[in-house]
C-alpha cells in the first residue's frame, strides 16, 4: 500500500497571534512552527500501517523552503520520502489542486490529511482533494482499518459516531482518535540522523486560479474585566446571567 500524508506547517498551539503590513499578513516573528496536530495523528496512523501491514509512507507539503524543517521532522518520525510543492499556500482550493497532482502522479492508495489546519481552520483541503481526484472520502475520521483494498472507518458526527466502509483509493480528513495521543511519535536521534539522508524532493507548482483571498485580519476586541461574584451570593450570578447577559 502506498500512503501519502499531507502535512500542514502551522504555528504551535501556544503562539501569540499578531499581524503585520496593515493587518494584511500573519506575523511569523518569534513563532515556532510545528506539524499540524490533526496531521500528526494521521502520520502516526500511517506509520502503524507501515509497521504492522507493510506500506510506504510519503509526506507532502505545499509551501516555501521555510516549511522544510517540518517535513524533515516527519521524515525523522519515519516517513520514507518527502515532497514539497514549491509555492506559497494561498487558499484551500489551490493547495488541494497541488496535492491532487502529487497524489495522482504517485499513484497512492490512501491519502491522509488532517480535518483542518489550526491556522486558517478552512477544513477544505481533504474534501476538495478527494473531489478533484474523484476518490472516496471520509471526514473527521477517528478510526481507520484497511484490509486489502477495503477500508473501514469511523467518523465523529455531532453527538456521536458513524461507521463507514469504502474501497481504496481513499482520502481521509483525520483527527485525534486515529491513534492514541500517547502513541504519537517524537523524533529520536537515530531518526533525525536518518532523516538527513532521506530524499526531500522539491517539485514545481501547477498554475491554479485563486478562488478566495484573505484580505485583512483583525483581533477580537479586548475584553472587559471579569465580574467576581461572592460564593455566598450566587443569586447575584443568576441575576446577572438573566438580566445583564440575557444568557438564561
Amino acid at each position: 500500500m502506498k500512503i501519502l500524508v499531507c502535512i500542514s506547517h502551522v504555528p504551535d498551539t501556544t503562539s501569540k497571534i499578531n499581524f503585520t503590513d496593515g493587518d494584511s499578513k500573519f506575523d511569523t516573528n518569534g513563532v515556532n512552527f510545528v506539524i499540524n496536530p490533526n496531521d500528526e495523528f494521521g502520520l502516526t496512523r500511517a506509520m502503524w500501517f507501515k509497521e504492522k501491514q507493510g506500506a510506504s509512507v510519503d509526506v507532502v507539503n505545499v509551501g516555501g523552503a521555510e516549511t522544510e524543517p517540518t517535513l524533515r521532522k516527519a521524515l525523522a518520525i519515519g516517513a520514507d520520502n518527502a515532497i514539497r510543492v514549491d509555492t506559497p499556500a494561498t487558499d484551500g482550493f489551490q493547495v488541494a489542486k497541488q496535492l491532487a497532482k502529487v497524489a495522482k502522479d504517485g499513484g497512492y492508495d490512501l491519502v491522509i490529511a488532517g480535518r483542518e489546519s489550526i491556522d486558517y481552520n478552512g477544513g477544505m483541503v481533504p474534501g476538495m482533494l478527494a473531489a478533484i481526484l474523484d476518490a472516496n472520502f471520509v471526514n473527521n475520521c477517528i478510526s481507520l482499518e484497511i484490509d486489502g483494498d477495503k477500508a473501514k472507518a469511523i467518523r465523529e458526527i455531532d453527538g456521536g459516531k458513524e461507521t463507514l466502509t469504502a474501497s481504496l483509493p481513499l482520502v481521509i480528513g483525520g483527527q485525534k482518535g486515529l491513534v492514541e495521543e500517547s502513541d504519537l511519535k517524537i523524533p529520536n536521534m537515530r531518526g533525525i540522523m536518518q532523516a538527513r539522508k532521506k530524499p526531500l524532493n522539491v517539485v514545481a507548482a501547477e498554475e491554479v486560479s485563486v478562488q478566495t483571498e484573505a484580505v485583512k485580519f483583525e483581533k477580537p476586541a479586548p475584553k472587559g474585566d471579569v465580574k467576581l461574584i461572592d460564593p455566598e451570593n450566587l443569586d447575584e450570578l443568576i441575576d446577572l446571567l438573566h438580566n445583564e447577559a440575557k444568557a438564561i
Binding site: T13, T14, I17, P37, N38, D91, G92, F93, I118, D119, Y120, N121, G122, G123, M124, G127, M128, A130, A131, I132, F137, N139, N140, I142, E156, I157, D158, G159, G160, K161, E162, T163, L164, T165, A166, Q175, K176, G177, V210, Q211, T212, E213, V215, F217, E218, K219, P220, K223, V226, K227, L228, I229, P231, L234, L237, I238, L241, H242, A245, A247
Partner: protein
C-alpha cells in the same frame, strides 16, 4: 438570482441550523429569492417563517441516512437548476463534510467559519474566524458561485414571515454517489450536542474524577445544556472524546459557557472564544480563565456547584 440554502433535518425535523442559514440567506438575498433544499423533511412549512420562498423538497429513501457525496450531488443539481449564485450551509459535522465536495462540483469558492453577514457584496467579502478563534480573517470570494459556511449561533434566527411554495425535487443519483457506505450510526438520543447547544456546561481536571460529574450533568439538565470537558479529562477517559473542547477538540459557539475546575490554558480558550458569555468557577484566583471570563466565582466547585444547581432550579421554576 437566488440564494440557496441546505436545510438540515434530523429524523425528518429541521435543525435550528436550518433556520439560521435561511435567516442569513434572506439578509444576503435582499429582495431576491431564497430557495431551500430539504432532504426527507416531514413538514417543510416552518421554513417560510425564516424567509424561504421556495422549497425543493426531496423525498428519497436512498437519502434517509446522510451521505456526503450523494447529498453534495443533489445540492449541485439544485444550484444549477435554480441558477443560484450564493449557497449557504451550516458548519455542522455533516455540512463541513459535504461543502468542499460541493465547492469542487460547482467550481465555487468556499469560505468556512463565517461569523457575520457579508462585509461587502461587491467584492463579496466575509468575516471568518481563524487561528481557532484567536483572530478574524476577512476573505474575498472571487468565483461566480460562492459558498458560505455559517458558524452556528453566529448570525442567530431572524423571523421573516412568508409563504414558501413547495416543489418536489428528484435529483438524479448515480452509483458513484454511494461508494462510501454508512454501516451504522451510534448517537445519543435526547442529548443536546455541543454544536447545537445554547448553553454548555464543562468540567476540567479540577473535578478530580469521573464520579464527580453528577453535579455537572445535573446543571446541564436544569439548563437544557450540553456537557463538555477539557482535554486531560477526555484523555484520562473520565469523559468521552467527543466532549473535549478546544484547539484540538470541538469549537463552542454557545450563548453561555460555564467552566468548572478548568484552568483556562490557551489551547482550551481557543475553542471557546466564540461563546458569548463565559462563567468560571475555580478555586485558584490566579487561574488564567478569569482573564477570559465575563463572570467568575472563586471557590471550591464541590461547594459552589450543588448550591448553584439548587438556585438555578428555583429560578427555572419561577421563570418557566
Amino acid at each position: 438570482m437566488s440564494v440557496l440554502v441546505y436545510t438540515e433535518t434530523e429524523d425528518g425535523k429541521f435543525k435550528k441550523a436550518a433556520f439560521e442559514v435561511a435567516s442569513y440567506a434572506k439578509e444576503v438575498a435582499g429582495g431576491d429569492e431564497v430557495v431551500a433544499v430539504s432532504f426527507n423533511a416531514t413538514d417543510t412549512s416552518e421554513l417560510g417563517n425564516y424567509g424561504v420562498s421556495k422549497v425543493l423538497n426531496i423525498q428519497n429513501d436512498k437519502l434517509s441516512k446522510f451521505n456526503a457525496e450523494a447529498y453534495a450531488d443533489a445540492l449541485t443539481q439544485a444550484v444549477k437548476k435554480e441558477g443560484s449564485k450564493i449557497v449557504v450551509v451550516s458548519q455542522s459535522a455533516n455540512s463541513r463534510y459535504l461543502a468542499p465536495l460541493l465547492a469542487v462540483h460547482l467550481n465555487a469558492g468556499y469560505a468556512s467559519n463565517v461569523m457575520a453577514a457579508p462585509e461587502s457584496t461587491d467584492p463579496f467579502t466575509v468575516k471568518r474566524s481563524a487561528f481557532t478563534n484567536k483572530a478574524f480573517n476577512f476573505t474575498k470570494i472571487t468565483t461566480d458561485v460562492k459558498i458560505v459556511g455559517l458558524s452556528q449561533n453566529a448570525f442567530g434566527l431572524k423571523e421573516n414571515q412568508g409563504d414558501a411554495t413547495v416543489e418536489d425535487f428528484s435529483p438524479e443519483l448515480k452509483e458513484g454517489d454511494f461508494t462510501v457506505n454508512v454501516e451504522s450510526v451510534d448517537k445519543a438520543k435526547d442529548k443536546v450536542t455541543i454544536a447545537d447547544a445554547e448553553v454548555v456546561v464543562s468540567g476540567g481536571r479540577g473535578l478530580k474524577g469521573p464520579e464527580n460529574w453528577g453535579m455537572i450533568e445535573e446543571m446541564a439538565d436544569i439548563l437544557g445544556a450540553a456537557t463538555a470537558c477539557s482535554k486531560p479529562v477526555s484523555d484520562m477517559g473520565w469523559r468521552p472524546h467527543s466532549e473535549h473542547v478546544g484547539q484540538t477538540g470541538k469549537p463552542v459557539a454557545s450563548n453561555l459557557y460555564i467552566a468548572v475546575g478548568i484552568s483556562g490554558a490557551i489551547q482550551h480558550l481557543a475553542g471557546i472564544n466564540a461563546a458569548k458569555t463565559k462563567v468560571v468557577i475555580n478555586n485558584d484566583p490566579e487561574a488564567p480563565f478569569f482573564k477570559a471570563a465575563d463572570y467568575g466565582v472563586v471557590g471550591d466547585a464541590f461547594e459552589i456547584v450543588p448550591k448553584l444547581n439548587e438556585k438555578l432550579k428555583e429560578f427555572k421554576a419561577k421563570n418557566a
